[in-house]
């Protein structure tokens, strides 16, 4: 394929929307030079094609990936779409074109640049998701737990199931500041994602303050003075996670 290349695609930023871009690319026999979400779009000299999200088209593409390639390839595409890889739409498209040509082995060809960048991005996301399973901190507002995170990758869909399992008997909320995405779980078992630019949390009560203080005491005491190693600490726990972690917060008195 690859007939016309001087065109820019714009879509609604959703995964389904992206799949429709893939669909268009086949239908129109063109290879766009950029694929951008509407809200992130910049001025361009190239002609623009606005791609509407048609669920039926998205479905068709979604079904074709595991069929023509493998379930693993589909999983990779979905994961990378959540990642913060630059120009991810373009890179995913390139991989998909390769995959339609080569079939199931495409995803395993990790020594190829096209495949390698995707695996790298997926790993970056998986690592960040894993870190946040531990670094995320809840505050208890009288029987309601709430946490804020600001990850680089859109990890909330990846980590939410872990917290649902672990805190099944709790009402809790996690809000991703970067992606303005929230997740709410009720002890009845209901849960949902929601979009919000801002959330308001109440003031912590005395019990909550007391446990924060106990945790900070534990954190300070557990370190061995003779073995201080700030560099190692930063390697394992990058500083960008610190502001949302209780052990690095000071209560205003």
């Amino acid at each position: 394929m690859s007939y016309r290349t001087n065109i820019v695609y714009r879509y609604d930023g959703s995964f389904q929307g992206f799949l429709c871009c893939v669909f268009q690319c086949f239908a129109q026999k063109e290879l766009p030079c950029a694929i951008e979400p509407w809200d992130a779009s910049q001025e361009t000299l190239f002609p623009v094609r606005t791609v509407e999200t048609v669920l039926e088209e998205a479905e068709r593409v979604a079904r074709s990936i595991p069929k023509k390639m493998s379930p693993e390839a589909y999983e990779l595409v979905r994961t990378v779409f959540l990642s913060c890889l630059e120009e991810k739409e373009q890179k995913l498209l390139r991989f998909l074109l390769m995959g339609y040509r080569l079939g199931p082995k495409a995803v395993k060809m990790t020594s190829e640049e096209t495949v390698h960048v995707l695996h790298k991005a997926a790993l970056h996301l998986a690592n960040e998701a894993h870190l946040l399973l531990g670094f995320l901190r809840f505050s208890d507002f009288g029987g309601f737990l709430a946490a804020e995170i600001s990850p680089k990758n859109n990890v909330l869909p990846k980590i939410a199931p872990h917290f649902c399992g672990r805190f099944s008997g709790e009402n809790f909320l996690i809000w991703d500041k970067t992606h303005k995405l929230g997740f709410i779980h009720q002890k009845t078992g209901e849960y949902r994602f929601f979009e919000a630019d801002k959330i308001e949390l109440p003031e912590p009560d005395e019990t909550e303050l007391a446990y924060r203080e106990l945790w900070r005491e534990f954190y300070e005491t557990i370190a061995i003075e003779g073995r201080k190693n700030p560099k190692l600490r930063r390697t394992h726990m990058p500083m960008r996670y610190w502001p949302e972690m209780t052990e690095f917060q000071q209560e205003p008195y």
């Binding site: 082995k105 395993k108 060809m109 990790t110 020594s111 190829e112 640049e113 390698h116 690592n127 894993h130 870190l131 399973l133 531990g134 670094f135 995320l136 901190r137 809840f138 505050s139 208890d140 737990l145 946490a147 872990h162 649902c164 399992g165 672990r166 805190f167 099944s168 008997g169 709790e170 002890k187 078992g189 446990y211 203080e213 106990l214 945790w215 005491e217 534990f218 954190y219 005491t221 557990i222 370190a223 061995i224 003779g226 073995r227 201080k228 190693n229 700030p230 560099k231 190692l232 600490r233 390697t235 394992h236 726990m237 972690m245 209780t246 052990e247």
Partner: protein
């Protein structure tokens, strides 16, 4: 005494314990109950010394009736004493866990009154957590040497992992430094736990509902540098413990002088961090790379090379096995190449099925070419920029000269503790 104060004292007394991983068992959450466990382990924070914090690591009490020379809690040492009540410990664990501060509890204790009394206190705490509160998070508990086997058995039914500290690498050192403990009182519970785990496995095969006994297995730790054993002796002992007692992990702790004693290194001796680091590297080779202790350290050279990690050291001394061809060498041999780890060896084996690998490809697969190139050929071509017939030249090229100097000036950069390394690698490869 105020809870905050107790927590400070009993954390301070527990902090030298190195084994703080939450790994080895997968347990899904249960509707309405608090907690789950993840086999790969999860680090919740890292302390100022760079170690992973995963569990609430505290002592039940530090009021010890024993008098081990190397320990701050010894009877004759002056200092603040405190004990948690089982209730306090239980609510602390629950409240930390709900806020996602921790993965669970790591409970150890000094010997209060007697081993049985101590074990009883710990048992009450765990019972409250598991039975009254329905807690499903991770629990690691230390068995107290000399306690009644019945109590040890019951602790094991609540815990995910148990450990008994072997303390020192030989019976002689034990007699000298920990007079109230004997090899027998330490090995007896270790044997009991090992046997319990095996019997449990066969019970579980027969009845699915049999209660689980120590599902994440058993570990131990020993102090390095308080007594005169060689690295080879320590490594052989480690290998023996893995085999005989099927331990999941052996941890090493560089001795940090806390007291003056005629049988111990002087109080200003720096802890042997490089040695500890090398032991962990060698331990890694035993567990994941198919090495044997006697290969890693030979009789004529019973201590580690400060300039080369144990794998490089072995390779340089066995150049007759190299170079190996990346596109053909068996997996086991790839593992022996410096600069190729478990993950990159697996990736090589997978990727070479589809394309012949060249130098660029190796880089993408995560091979550290800086070291590996001296030991590899790619499509028949050597990657080495140097003649490989002189081991000393290769040793010079891949040695850790720079790191070693840092080691001499403070040793800070070397304190790579193993626990979080285990967790890190495992979450990437799903090992164990």
């Amino acid at each position: 005494m105020e809870l905050l104060k107790k927590l400070e004292i009993l954390t301070d007394a527990a902090k030298y314990d190195v084994a703080c991983t939450s790994s080895g068992v997968d347990r899904a959450g249960e509707p309405g109950k608090l907690g789950s466990a993840v086999a790969a382990g999860i680090c919740h924070s890292f302390s100022a010394d760079g170690r992973c914090i995963s569990l609430l690591k505290v002592l039940m009490s530090n009021a010890c009736v024993y008098n081990c020379a190397y320990c701050v809690n010894r009877r004759e040492n002056e200092g603040r004493r405190a004990s948690f009540t089982p209730e306090e410990l239980c609510s602390l664990t629950m409240n930390f866990y709900r806020r996602n501060y921790i993965e669970g509890l790591f409970l150890s204790s000094a010997v209060v009154k007697s081993p049985d009394h101590t074990c009883g206190l710990m048992l009450r705490a765990l019972q409250k957590l598991r039975e009254d509160e329905g807690f499903r998070g991770y629990i690691h508990v230390k068995a107290i040497p000399g306690a009644d086997p019945v109590l040890v058995e019951r602790l094991g039914l609540y815990a995910d992992r148990m450990s008994v500290n072997i303390e020192l690498p030989s019976q002689k050192s034990l007699g000298l430094l920990a007079p109230e403990k004997t090899k027998e009182t330490i090995l007896a519970p270790m044997g009991q736990i090992c046997q319990g785990i095996q019997e449990n496995a066969s019970d579980l095969a027969r009845y699915k509902k049999a209660p689980r006994f120590v599902p994440a297995g058993q570990s131990t730790q020993m102090i390095v540098g308080a007594s005169p054993e060689t690295d080879r002796q320590i490594l052989l002992l480690t290998e023996g413990l893995y085999r005989r007692y099927r331990l999941k992990r052996v941890f090493f702790s560089a001795y940090m002088p806390v007291v003056n004693h005629r049988n111990l290194p002087a109080k200003d001796t720096p802890p042997p961090l490089l040695r500890e680091h090398r032991l962990y590297q060698a331990d890694w080779l035993l567990r994941f790379y198919g090495f044997q202790a006697k290969e890693i350290l030979e009789e004529e050279q019973p201590d580690f090379n400060p300039l080369l990690d144990p794998k490089c050291n072995w390779a340089v001394n066995h150049m007759e096995h190299f170079p190996v061809e990346v596109n053909r060498a068996p997996y086991e041999m790839l593992l022996r190449v410096p600069g190729i780890g478990v993950k990159s060896a697996q990736r090589i084996v997978q990727a070479r099925r589809y394309t012949a690998l060249d130098q660029m490809a190796l880089k993408r697969l995560g091979v550290v070419l800086k070291r590996a190139r001296f030991f590899l050929t790619c499509k028949g071509k050597s990657l080495s920029p140097l003649q490989t017939d002189n081991p000393l030249v290769i040793a010079g090229a891949i040695g850790e000269g720079r790191v070693f100097q840092q080691g001499l000036s403070g040793g800070e950069q070397l304190s790579l503790f193993a626990p979080q390394k285990e967790d890190k690698v495992k979450c990437l490869t799903g090992q164990i």
